[in-house]
Amino acid sequence: MAMNVETLMFYLLSAMAVLAALQVITSRNPVHAALFLVLTFFSMAGVWLLLEAEFLALALILVYVGAVMVLFLFVVMMLDINLERLRVGFWKWFPFAAVLAVVLLVEMVMVLGSAKTAGTGMTGGTGAHVITHAANYSNTKELGRLIYTEYVYAFELAAVLLLVAIIAAIALTHRHRAGTKSQVHAAQIQVKRNDRVRLVSVTSVAKAETAKK
């Protein structure tokens, strides 16, 4: 019976994910699209929970929904995106794209459909089966163990990738442009009195005049 609830949850969450993903690419308002992407992430996190990948599910929500998507929404709201200009030429190419998409879809259905009829499904052929874990199984611990042993090379490379991303972002955005105003702390500290204060000797005409009176 428990199995049935899980299967039901899986289909429910998957359907929600697919529908929300469709809305992401079809909705006219970019803010709505971003919010639907959040919903997609939530449903996928649910699917991962069903797979007993609790850490990844939480990380998906914390990192993607909590940080990345909020930032993304912020940027989308800040930008004034002209949707009409983005859609220029869309209908001109639509028939061509639609034909291609239909051909691709039919091909995919044919290939995957024939795979099912052949009796060897996605996992059936490889003899892979779902492993059931004990109640005290820690997904986080297992993930950590794998990352630092079997996948340490890929993990380090991911770190290199992030470093490259940081360097690229700084190299592309941090530069001196003419006309921008910014503080130069070194110049502020090194300033001399002579640079700012000018002593002017003013002849005391006023005093002389009062003396006359």
């Binding site: 996992t123 052929g125 490889t126 892979a128 890929a154 490379l157 990738l161 592309l172």
Partner: protein, 483 residues
Amino acid sequence: MSYLSTLTPASAEIFLLVMACVILIVDLFVVNQQKTPTYLLVQFTLMGLAFITLMTHQQGAVHLFHNMFVSDLMSDVLKMVSYLTVSIILVYSRSYLLTRGLFTGEFMVLTLFTLLGMMVMISASHFISMYMGLEVMSLSLYALVALQRDSATATEAAMKYFILGALASGLLLYGMSMLYGATGTLDVAGVSTAIKHGVANPALLVFGLVFVVAGLAFKLGAVPFHMWVPDVYQGAPTPMVMLIGSAPKFAAFAFLMRMLVDGLQPLMGHWSNMLIILAVLSMALGNISAIAQTNIKRMLAYSSIAHIGFFLLGILSGGIDGYSSAMFYIMVYVLMSLGAFGMITLLSHEGYEADTLDAFKGLNQRSPWLAFIMLLLMFSMAGVPPTAGFYAKFSVLESIVNTGHIELAVFAVLLSLVGAYYYLRIVKLMYFDAPESHEPIRIQPDTGLLISLNGLSVLALGMLPSWLMSVCAVSVQQSLLLR
């Protein structure tokens, strides 16, 4: 044996990563506008890499990091030529970038990270490390193209390169996930054994294969996935184009060898048919479109598409002959394109880009020696004996004829004849037309020496190709999983 000493085969990668980080910090303290200390440090790093790769070379294939990393003769040879290529690019691009204010520490560090990505790809024997290497390389290249922020064309080129590159990565990943679904493993050797033992679902395998080949074709710039190539070549700064069009081809060759030849050898019937389509279309479209170009960078872009088609012929003909001829071809192609783009950077000066065909008019009157070098390079690209390009084309054709695809060989020769037109047109412009400007060409001594060596090596390789050919043959033979 301690854990660190087991890492010896990967010490070149580790050294490069450490040095790239060191250079990143050292560069902050370099006040010199010419960035000479950073530049020398980068060149020293490349020499150190070559030394380490020579020293750590071992017989046979050494696997590391749970089969994610492999070091064999092919990977060492390809890494050595990659170091050489990156070093040559830095020499050529130095004065070009200095006059445009782009010769920064970031440029050099990103170039080193591109090299690191290529090295990871060259030594990858696992889908994850292949993909990670590809991403490290691509991300650095996107940033390098975008580095010239004030140029609208460079920004446009960077956007196109980035978006289509991301799409290609997506296709590749989707294909890899399908292969994983079919075989249950991401390890190249594991995939190959799973297919051989018949546990994998054949329909799903071919389905994944289509996406993998499409993703690779995007990265290689083969027709019909070539759209980004001309725009990126034309828009990006010339040194970046030199980098995109040269060393990554070695990494792509290793990628193809490990992915298709080692991992998916049992599906060769399927992928060689796909490669035939890609090769024929690339040669046709590349050679014919190049005729209409007036911008030499754009012309070289179409020429690179045509050359990729020829290179794919070598891969699809299979066997040690086919693979080694493809490896030889790609090495010769990189040498030629380095020379051609190097010539563009030499003829450009402050405020002037020598990227039109008109820039080459009457070059013989301005500098007979440079014109002669360009003549050698163009002859080699066209495949005129006795240059290296002739021998490269010849060995690919030989292997394709041996597999019985005579019609493909005839087609390739006919399209090479078409291609000869636009290469020889440059020779005609240089020798028989009047120059547009009589401005003297100022060349730094190091770049002058290098371009001479580059041009003459094309000639020398054409005269004595057998040693490089045998290096390619031995390295391919030693690295093949299925003999």
